[in-house]
Amino acid sequence: MTATQDRPAAEIGRDRRRKEDQRLITGRTRWTDNITLPGMLHLAMVRSPFAHADITSIDVSEAEAAPNVVAVLTGKDFGEELGVCINAWPITPDQKTPTHSPMPADRVAFAGEVVAVVVARSAAEARDAAELVDVDYAERPAVLGIKNALEDSILAHPDLGTNKSALWVFDSAEAGTGGDVEAAIEQARTDGILIEREYRQQRLIPAFMEPRSVVVDPTGEQITMWTATQVPHIVRFALAATTGVPESKIRVIAPDVGGGFGGKLQTTPEEWITWAVARRLGKPAKYTETRSESLMAGHHGRDQVQTLTLAADRDGNVTGFKVHLDADLGAYVALVGGGVPVLGAFMFNAIYKFPSYRFECQTVLTNSTWTDAYRGAGRPEATYAVERMMDELAAEVGVDPLEIRERNWITHEEFPFTTVAGLEYDSGNYEAATARAREVFGYDALRAEQRERRERGDRVQLGIGVSTFTEMCGLAPSRVLGSLDYGAGGWEHASVRMTPLGKVEVVTGTSAHGQGHETAFSQIVADLLGVPFEDVEVLHGDTQVAPKGLDTYGSRSLVVGGEALVRAADKVVEKAKVLAAHLLEASADDLEYAGGRFTVRGTDQGLAIQELATATFAGHNYPDGMELSLDADATYDPVNFNYPHGTHLCAMEVDTETGAVRMRKYTCCDDIGVIINPLIVAGQVHGGLVQGIAQALWEEAVHDESGTLVSGSFVDYLLPTSADTISFDVVHTDQPSVCTTNTLGTKGVGEAGTIASTPAVVNAVVDAVRHLGVDDIQMPCTPERVWRAIHAHDGDAPTPEAAMPHFDEGAPNQDEGAGQ
């Protein structure tokens, strides 16, 4: 088949099998740890066992004498060439930001921090010698847990004088986007409903399956770093900015990368140390972490205490929502750091028409592993808070949780809608998504079964959880980021190159690590240029090939990177049109373009874009003034975020005798605008769902009181398996709410499942036992917690009034362990 004769079928919307898979299913992969270079040296890190301690001395003599050890280096051995780990988003001008050396010379601030590196000819010998490095520590008191940190009695970094890093505030009355939340609360206290809760967003670990690995080769003109990262461009920028090597001398490659979920959105001490060692020794060097090191020293996510006050009238119409977050940064302010909770600031009002809103976020430093982005980054926390509160409101008013949401949500006629947080939602249809989810789920039948089980007093109770989520994604309009003091823009770049024989090379600044960009982007280009899907090659993840870009996170690759690609392809068509007109001896105005072919209107004369590519290569015949190239590139800066939404319904069975929970059914109807590849979209949703469900039920990173990570291996940090999960119903509305701010009409989907599912699951668990007097269970909802929640109300103990104000007395209503 040649495309000049057979126009390919429309690719957008087609469930193409992925191009990426052939290599991955046969083991022909390029993970960073697979890379071996001549003379390559191997690194082993010596890490602090203490959460907070002074390094009083390090004796490396025995390690240096060990077989095949090339060097043993400590923080004192490096100067400025080691660089620093940067915080790109100081959320306030007065943010307290401790200096973060990749290898501190004098004091460690969390257990797992690197204090020395051993370089040897083999990984095994490096590890053997690392055991011989003798470090003397003088232990300091460590501060752990948000509530302890807020007291400022023990300081994570004594020189800062406080653990409080920054306080970030948004108030709708001050911003002019809504009313005064305090007035709404006063009103509700008098004659409405006031719901006050404290929720705990436990600390999570991204736990990508490929441990992080980095290889640095200093032997070429450019120093090359291969690294298991989501952000090769940001790594290059930060290396140049902090280690004194010009950007033009740095090449960063993200080869095959095995998952990230925000966990590889970082500039890491291990990358910086490997960089410095390779430069110092002039030899290629590799470091690959173990899983234990990954869990201990790779950044964690979440970890917030949410203090929430929801005001409503007696009918359940919300009048105000006040949010105070305390967020644990860990020992350092990471790359995005305090910006993660701030990303949630605009989402606590979710899909609702709240008239007033206030958000405060206090970030604190502790002597624990640093925290940063984890799938959803700020938005899952916000969605959890509001969706849990809406269920509490429904219970208080005594109506179905779907009903309370309908009373408060933005109706589809009201778009575009400017929210109380100041965002303009361009499109959406919450009614349609809810109706479809409800139907597929079999909502009414499950409610009937729930009633029946309650009446029967069945040992196994059934609960139904609702989450009608939205999120802001497609990070991000650069000017908005500027207004928030973020240290970079949010644009994306793409190039389209036509090869002489009519193939297409697409270069994107996004950096896929499992998302399927090669496939989805090929589909887009195939439609735009009328070339076969197979003829498109998508190149990415290497700063030498894709010099410009801002990488992959925040559900941005398709909606920002894909849009850049559309614009680059459009430019190719414009250029080709000039040549086509010349060769067809027609006026450009008389040409029609469809399916990659220019035809002279009213004739059968025409040329395919591939033929024009060949003609451009030959250069034998082209119009004066035409640059002899069809290639084009484009940089796209989004004008708005986009706002996917969906209705997620979850049925959970709770064994009231043991507290064990079991998922019975999960249905979601996501409206994400135009879908490029439904197979890939479903995969993103499935995986996202399980990560969100895992927060609800299984995962929690726990440090003990001395700061040791107790859940430091996969034995204790509980990832679910296939045996713990179910198959999901993933559906979409018949008429998607097309995104109006990009050409493709797409909205992000990478984080949707994770953002939506956590509250759906916890709402379902609580719903199953609410009649037993339970109105909250701390995450993860372990069997023990569920069992204790049920039994807290044994013996006719009075059920606490859900609506009774209690923060005034300074007593939280649940979660006594929160923040510990």
């Binding site: 053997d128 043991t658 929690e700 045996a723 069997p783 023990e784 069992w787």
Partner: protein, 281 residues
């Protein structure tokens, strides 16, 4: 991820293995299937100088009928114990418990004797072995001796096997025709049991034998429950009072997965369920 250096010996007979053990003493460690040992070595939590691999000793593998007992070779894999027709017929509880050990890959390598000798209180095989009154055949420099299950498990990761001895086989009295069930309570499937109950019953219910996993530093026998079940009817009401005795004398740990009192509660609930399932109710 990289163990400390060690020497490796692969004897082809029990005698050779015992000789190697005698020669290297404390510095040596026996490796059977290695599924618990190798993680420990990779994390450098243990650093033997010599590893003595029993994998080449064919006589330690397999199940045979020996009159009123089954004899299970120490190197028989969990996978093979689970599927063995003799085990299914005469010690169904072991087949059911072996099916619950870790995951398929681990069951292909991990061994019956290795797991019992490792004596992890959260291991799945100790409680059923105890419930069935297994007897442990241990070879040493002076010949072999047999140890009753009740005496075999000494403490956390500690058994009656001496430093110069090797567990060679386990003799399991036949429980032909007994119903059996292993009720394992976990949060995620690849987890060690928080609590598990091994129950096997004759008739419904003439006689019951019950072992508890992870309810103390060793596997425990729920003797009070066993006594109360004799003659009970295999119904929820019939076993309730007996199951309520299951946590007597237990001292379970408190950790991220549950406090001791919760584990005791679980033991009672799960015992009732395990007995009913074992009885086919």
């Amino acid at each position: 991820m990289i163990p400390v250096k060690f020497d490796y010996l692969a004897p082809s007979s029990v005698e050779e293995a015992l000789a190697a053990l005698g020669e290297h003493g404390d510095d040596a460690k026996i490796i059977a299937g290695g599924q618990s040992l190798l993680p420990v070595l990779r994390m450098r939590l243990n650093a033997p100088e010599v590893l003595i691999d029993l994998g080449g000793i064919d006589s330690l593998r397999g199940v045979r009928d020996d009159g009123d007992a089954l004899v299970i070779g120490a190197m028989t894999t969990h996978h093979d114990v689970r599927d063995d027709p003799l085990v299914k017929e005469h010690a169904l509880l072991l087949s059911k418990a072996a099916a619950e050990v870790a995951d398929a890959q681990i069951r292909h390598r991990g061994t019956f004797g290795g797991a019992l000798a490792h004596a992890d209180p959260a291991g799945d095989l100790g409680a059923p072995a105890l419930a069935l009154g297994a007897r442990f055949v241990i070879a040493g420099p002076g010949g072999t001796r047999t140890v009753e299950a009740a005496d075999f498990f000494v403490d956390l990761f500690e058994t009656a096997i001496g430093e110069d001895e090797i567990l060679t086989e386990v003799r399991v009295p036949k429980h032909t025709g007994w119903g059996a069930h292993y009720e394992k309570f976990v949060r995620v499937a690849h987890q060690w049991p928080i609590v598990a109950v091994a129950a096997t019953v004759r008739g419904s219910i003439d006689e019951a034998r019950i072992g508890l996993t992870n309810m103390g530093s060793t596997p425990l026998r729920a003797t009070a429950t066993e006594a109360a079940l004799a003659g009970a009817s295999a119904t929820e009401d019939g076993v309730r009072d007996a199951a309520a005795l299951a946590a007597e004398g237990t001292a379970p740990p408190t950790d991220l997965n549950g406090a001791a009192d919760y584990r005791q509660h679980l033991a009672r609930v799960l015992t009732g369920r395990a007995v009913l399932k074992a009885a086919g109710a």
